[in-house]
């Protein structure tokens, strides 16, 4: 049963939104439309401007330029308490002097609603905390506090719910559980959720639209699978998951673009190539590759792209095995292989061939440099939830 929204929810629209702190630009002219009722994730490394964007939508930070609309209504000049927007804060920011019931009732009471009991109880049911209504926040576990923070925001039936790294303080297992919980709540209430996170896996599992932010701008926006399968910038290719990137020169255009690099030819479907000029960075995700002994090259389907090299490291990770392969031009290529093959795996020192379908290849503009986003991507992967 949907708990809240009976009225029409409207799109959230940011127009050329900009925020400067002194000389540095935290958010650099963002223009996006977030459709009503969607689960939208702003993904980026710390300092990329995602939290500042969120705080501007909440009204806790004044934009230096640009506008914020909900539907046709310009809310840029409204103060935080006048906006139909609520936030789940990173640290939850529960009121320590009020019990759970009063924390949840806070927003309703501030708007002068006298009879809050029914709504508060229904909200506490939704987040499964009815039994703890009279506890103080300090008596609750992290996961419970997080659910109170969600309930306290959602009870107001905001047009937009903002979530600022809401799962950052939870341990991994609880985080997975809360991800599912939040998705369930979102589908029940139908409110637009804007979720800020540096955890790419979280963004991809939860959101129907992901926007990857870098240095105050949105690098790419789309369905998580599309963004992952077809990154449009080197930053996205490296930040969202891992990519093997090889710089080359375009030989021919047409339905299929042919690129030559280090004496090898690579094919990319033209619609997957975003490089405007003749310099093209050929990209492929590690799990798209097949690892074969060099003698078995003939087993690769005709027309597949291929790279030869020597295995320098094999790591068995349970579900898959990760190979590091050194190419003749001294680049290390990463390949994942599902542990479903029967027989021997390649081992360190083996001459191997890596093959993959042209449809799994993407072409990028080398302007940024091939390491863009690598450091951030790695730090996001390894980030400690306690940090």
């Amino acid at each position: 049963m949907p708990v809240g929204v009976s009225r029409e929810v409207e799109d959230l629209r940011l127009v050329n939104l900009t925020k400067q702190f002194g000389d540095s630009t935290a958010v650099d002219g963002i223009s996006i439309t977030i459709p009503a009722g969607s689960f939208f994730a702003l993904l980026g490394a710390s300092g990329c401007g995602k939290t500042t964007t969120l705080r501007m939508v909440a009204g806790l930070e004044d934009p230096s330029a640009g506008q914020i609309f909900i539907g046709e209504k310009d809310i840029t000049q409204l103060r935080a308490f006048q906006r139909p927007v609520n936030t789940v804060f990173q640290s939850y920011a529960l009121f320590p002097h009020l019990d759970i019931y009063e924390n949840v009732a806070f927003g309703l009471r501030r708007r002068g609603i006298k009879d809050v009991d029914l709504q508060v109880k229904r909200m506490l049911d939704l987040v499964e905390l009815s039994a703890l209504a009279r506890r103080k926040p300090s008596q609750l576990s992290g996961g419970q506090q997080q659910r109170v923070a969600v309930a306290r925001a959602l009870i107001n039936q905001p047009d937009v719910l903002l979530l600022d790294e809401p799962l950052g303080a939870l341990d991994l297992k609880l985080r997975r559980q809360m991800q599912i919980e939040l998705k369930r709540i979102q589908s029940e209430v139908g409110t637009t959720f804007v979720h800020v996170t540096h955890d790419q896996e979280e963004a991809m599992t939860m959101a129907d639209t992901v926007a990857v932010m870098n240095a105050g701008r949105i690098e790419q926006l789309g369905h998580p699978a599309d963004v992952y399968e077809t990154p449009h910038t080197i930053f996205v290719a490296n930040f969202l998951g891992q990519s093997n990137l090889i710089a080359g020169e375009k030989l021919s255009s047409g339905e299929v673009v042919e690129v030559r690099a280090h004496g090898l030819g690579f094919k990319i479907p033209a619609k997957r190539n975003v490089a405007p000029g003749s310099h093209v960075v050929v990209g492929v995700r590690p799990e798209k590759m097949t690892v074969l002994d060099a003698h078995d090259e003939h087993k690769l389907p005709v027309g597949h792209n291929r790279i030869f090299g020597v295995v320098t490291d094999v790591s068995y990770t349970g579900v898959s095995t990760q190979y590091l392969v050194q190419t003749p031009w001294d680049q290390t290529i990463i390949a994942f292989e599902q542990n479903s093959i029967v027989g021997d795996r390649s081992s360190v020192g083996d001459q191997v061939v890596l093959g993959w379908a042209p449809e799994h290849t993407f072409g990028l503009d080398p302007a940024e440099g091939v390491t863009s986003g690598i450091h951030e991507g790695v730090s996001a992967l390894e980030s400690d939830p306690e940090a």
Partner: protein, 298 residues
């Protein structure tokens, strides 16, 4: 395993060690307890004994040990106006100090930025001059021919045409002298208030006034309680401000106690008044703390 055994046997057992440790903790208490015993408990008992003494029948003016409870009733029935005035002045001074100190402490805690330390030093700085000296300075500031009085007079704001030697001057002096004791605990409490809670209050439809009433104020309650107590208690027993800034009609209970001790040498009455003052303040403080419910706060 076997060779390890003798080593274990040689070390004193754990219970013994922890017992010795807790004994050390008690030894550490001794200097403090001794101080309290000599300089608080003994004088308090002496004071109480003195408050019950009777005048000697053989040599008038001398007092002998006794159990004269009428010392209390006589003292209170004679000096109740000064008693009431003490609590009135101390209450007013505490109220004004809170009104002045709260915005100041709020500013230092949330808005002062790099100026924070300097402002805190400035709050405490007047205390480097002696209490007496500062009160004398107020005599000059509030003097009949001074700038403050003449300005207020030109606006016809003073009913008596003067400030010095009125209750206003006494309350002003008390407010000024005890202000740092109000500012510092308030600052400490406000500094602990997480600014994100105020943001959360704004986010949840609280106007700035509502957020102050429902979030900031309750969270600063420990500071309010500490500050009002640290101001009210010494202000209620103070005699210097009333002595220097007030007239004979503005005397507080501190002045009466001082006069009885030093001038009249009526030790039982002075002691009885002191003891009664302490008792009344103690009762007031306890009921105040209970009513403001601070035990509940973080």
């Amino acid at each position: 395993m076997a060779p390890v055994m003798p080593a274990i046997a040689n070390t004193p057992n754990i219970a013994e060690v922890s017992q010795r440790k807790s004994r050390v903790a008690y030894w550490l208490l001794i200097p403090g307890l001794a101080w309290l015993a000599f300089f608080f408990v003994v004088p308090l008992v002496t004071l109480f004994m003195t408050s019950l003494q009777t005048e000697s029948t053989t040599s008038p003016g001398k007092y002998v040990p006794g159990f004269q409870l009428s010392n209390y009733t006589d003292a209170i029935s004679e000096y109740w106006p000064q008693f009431l005035r003490s609590f009135l002045y101390a209450g007013l001074a505490t109220g004004f100090a809170l009104l002045i100190a709260y915005p100041l402490a709020y500013f230092i805690a949330f808005k002062a930025g790099n100026w924070r330390s300097l402002m805190l030093v400035l709050v405490v700085a007047p205390s480097f001059a002696s209490f007496l000296l500062r009160t004398y300075a107020w005599k000059t500031i509030l003097a009949d021919d001074g700038a403050v009085t003449s300005t207020l007079n030109s606006m016809h704001l003073l009913p008596d045409g003067r400030i010095l030697n009125t209750g206003i001057a006494v309350v002003a002096g008390l407010t000024y002298n005890f202000l740092p004791f109000m500012v510092l605990p308030l600052y400490a409490a406000l500094d602990k208030v997480d600014y994100r809670l105020i943001e959360a209050g704004n986010d949840l439809y609280g106007s700035p006034q509502q957020v102050f009433r429902k979030v900031t104020w309750p969270l600063s309650m420990p500071g309010v309680v500490a500050g009002t107590l640290l101001t009210f208690i010494p202000a209620a027993g103070d005699f210097i401000n009333a002595e220097l800034l007030g007239s004979t009609k503005d005397k507080m209970i501190g002045n009466v106690i001082q006069t009885n001790f030093i001038e009249f040498r009526d030790y039982p009455t002075a002691s009885a008044l002191s003891f009664a003052l302490m008792a009344v303040i103690l009762v007031m403080v306890l009921s105040y703390i209970r009513r403001s419910g601070t035990e509940d706060l973080v």
